[in-house]
């Protein structure tokens, strides 16, 4: 069928800069896995096929003479506010294929980003601000259940006391920023290892996602791994559950609430197959629900099965997508025995999701977070679990605002990928990621060196942590604990009454 689709990007090659016919260059040809660039020897010049371009900018970055520019094609149909170029393109694509549209990365349609409508406070006169360069500033975060009260008993000497209360297993991270679940299979081995190495160096945690944890990484990186168990149960056995410091039961994901996932057979290489424990080349299908969880009671059973399998030594996370009744669901999750809830908002990333789901299902994490924190407090069970906010955390201020709204910590996924090279071209599902992140093609994965990838991640998280300290100091706080759920440090701007109400904050100036 003749395709009616127009190219999404324009390629501009500065002929005066391009090395052209010298066969020694052709960097753009080698860098592009989509086959956009080619050297036409009959004409003796470079030619391009812009319709294959995803706009990932790899060729632009790696062109040695800076001769290339890739820009979004300007709207090329008659301007129409209703029938935008994107809508027209989607319809044409579906008319030609009859299939569900896929997209990588999180929702990009611009549903209100509440972080941008929240402003942080700073001390002036009445409470001195603190300079984090001179004063100690504590970002250390404890994740997991906290006892209702502490009781002490008399120790050996008269002035000695011992803790009588049993402290349940919990996690200690040096900064309230954790790497969100990204499975080996959806991302490449070097990308996965970069996250593990960075988490280890930073004293924080990475999350294996549902693709298992390769055996050779368990010894060095198990101590900074959250191992995930999802509806596909890939790579899950007792040894895996015990190989990390915590186990996360994934119920839902912000980018695609309520649906499962299909890792296409092309991405199931022999190594991915070994880690997931499924035959090579077979689709890895994660059903929409866990078929042993049809109720809160069933969830409780799986939580406790995991606790049994790990001898009650590891906290259990339950991750859900932020949806309409998140608060009531979260209450059920805590009562089911979860130690930590991960809330993944509408804008959360993904390797692949149906576009229509990504753009239309779920709610922003800011609203869900505020509602969940409120609900758990009002029911007097907030201490029984920690909350991790995920889905569209773009900078350190988003982390600080999430914590002020009630989160204990934040998960970052997309931001970590961007640090490693991702440019959000949203073509993860093609398996041809030119940045070596979201692909299993060895010629592409080799482009990412875990040492260098982890350095970028370490730099990013250190920079954000420093910025969080600056913000804390400005508020006159010297520990992240003092910001947690401290909504008085937040004011809303450009929000309606109901939004302020859900967020539990005042408007700016109030």
């Amino acid at each position: 069928m003749k395709s009616y689709l127009l190219p999404e990007f324009l390629l501009e090659r500065d002929e005066s800069k391009c090395i052209q016919n010298r066969a020694c260059c052709q960097a753009c040809v080698r860098q592009c896995s989509n086959g956009v660039h080619a050297f036409d020897s009959s004409q003796g010049k470079m030619v391009s096929r812009p319709e294959k371009c995803t706009g990932c900018q790899r060729c632009v970055v790696f062109c040695p003479t800076g001769a290339l520019r890739v820009v979004p094609a300007p709207p090329s149909y008659r301007p129409n506010q209703n029938w935008t170029v994107e809508r027209i393109r989607d319809i044409k694509k579906q008319a030609e294929s009859g299939g569900v549209l896929l997209r990588g990365c999180g929702d990009d349609t611009g549903h209100r980003i509440y972080w941008d409508h929240l402003l942080l406070n700073a001390s002036q006169v009445t409470n001195p601000s603190i300079d984090p360069l001179r004063e100690p500033m504590e970002l250390k975060t404890f994740l997991g259940p906290k006892p209702e009260r502490l009781s002490l008993r008399q120790g050996g000497r008269e002035d000695e006391f011992e803790l009588e209360t049993e402290i349940l297993p919990h996690l200690v991270v040096e900064t309230p920023i954790l790497f969100s679940a990204m499975s080996y299979g959806s991302i490449s081995y070097p990308a996965f290892k970069s996250l593990a190495m960075a988490a280890s160096e930073l004293g924080t945690l990475f999350n294996t996602g549902e693709g298992g944890l390769p055996l050779e990484l368990r010894k060095d990186y198990g101590r900074c791994a959250i191992v995930q168990i999802a509806s596909g149960r890939f790579g899950v056995d007792a040894e895996y559950l015990n190989s990390g410091v915590a186990v996360e039961i994934k119920i839902g994901q912000g980018a695609k609430p309520g649906i499962g996932g299909h890792l296409p057979g092309e991405k199931v290489s022999s190594l991915v197959a070994a880690t997931r424990m499924i035959p090579e080349g077979s689709d890895a299908i994660s059903p929409a629900p866990h078929h042993d969880i049809y109720s809160i009671e069933d969830l409780s059973t799986l939580i406790h099965a995991v606790k049994e399998a790990t001898n009650y030594q590891k906290p259990v996370f339950v991750k859900i997508a932020a949806v309409h009744n998140a608060a009531a669901i979260a209450s059920g999750i805590v009562r089911a025995g979860a130690d930590i809830i991960a809330l993944d908002g509408l804008r959360g990333g993904t390797g692949t999701a149906p576009k229509i789901i990504r753009e239309n299902v779920g709610i922003p994490v800011e609203l869900a977070l505020a509602a969940v924190d409120d609900r758990l407090r009002s029911e007097g069970i907030r201490n029984r679990c920690s909350i991790i906010a995920a889905g569209g955390i773009r900078c350190s201020a988003d982390v600080a605002k999430a914590i002020a709204l009630g989160a204990d910590a934040a998960y970052i996924g997309t931001a970590a990928l961007v640090a490693m090279g991702c440019t959000l071209c949203q073509s993860c599902y093609t398996g041809k990621c030119n940045w070596g992140i979201c692909t299993q093609d060895p010629s592409l994965t080799n482009r990412l060196n875990p040492k260098l990838g982890s350095n970028r991640l370490i730099n990013l998280v250190r920079a954000w942590s420093m910025e969080i300290k600056e913000m804390l100091g400005g508020m006159g706080l010297n520990a992240i604990e003092s910001l947690r759920g401290n909504r008085d440090q937040l004011r809303g701007i450009g929000l309606q009454e109901w939004e302020l109400d859900v967020l539990g904050i005042k408007g700016a100036g109030e």
Partner: protein, 272 residues
Amino acid sequence: MMTETCQMTKMEIKMKTVEIDSAGLSYRELNDLMRESMLDGAEKIILKNVTGQKFIGTRLYFPKASKTVDSKKLEIEIFGTPGNDLGAFLHGHSITVFANAQDGVGNTMENGEIVVHGRAGDVVAMAMRGGKIFIRDSLGYRAAMHMKEYEDKTPVLVIGGTAQDFLGEYMAGGIVILLGIGDQEHRANFIGTGIHNGVIYIRGQLEEEQLGKGVIIQELDEHDHQVLKNCVGEFVNHFGAELDVKAEELLQGEFVKLVPASNRPYKAVYAN
């Protein structure tokens, strides 16, 4: 000298078999005792008066590299009715139940064997990755869902009677056999929807409408007959006397073999 050796052996045998009265124990207490027994070197654990305690066998994972205890496998006998998730994540031990079992038998089980002298509930062998489960009678809904195999690990589920709807949904590997003993009618619908690996053998009659999407019926070949001979043989070893059946009789019946039409069932769903 002789006497002493004999006594030693006797002592050892005694030490290696532990009997636990489960009456009035919570599942956690019972599983604590089982784990302690394992760490003390027990080889066989007999549970008496079991009344619905969950997760039996789940806490018996012990890292292979341990110096004190090797990862030897335990034999567990259960008298009374075990609760949900019997043998969840089971790490190679063998469990025999002399009663009915409930939901979630062998959930995400890795290896070992579970033998139930009775019936079992729903979601049996969910996401099972290895080992064998033998159920003497019938079981409930959603059995063998998302069972999967890898290399030498092929999970096996053999059911004496029949199963209910959604049997083998999303199956990604393994062998499921329904024997329909006593001319049991197979009434399950949506069998094997989304199956992309593995095989289901059903002894008896089956209508095409009972099959889910993506399942096809295939003729049995030599390999299938060998698989059936082995698995049915083991089934009869466990229950032949109780059920008064012989392997040859069972193998003479008509078997329907169900396999996936493709190992990429959803490939055509997407546009890109």
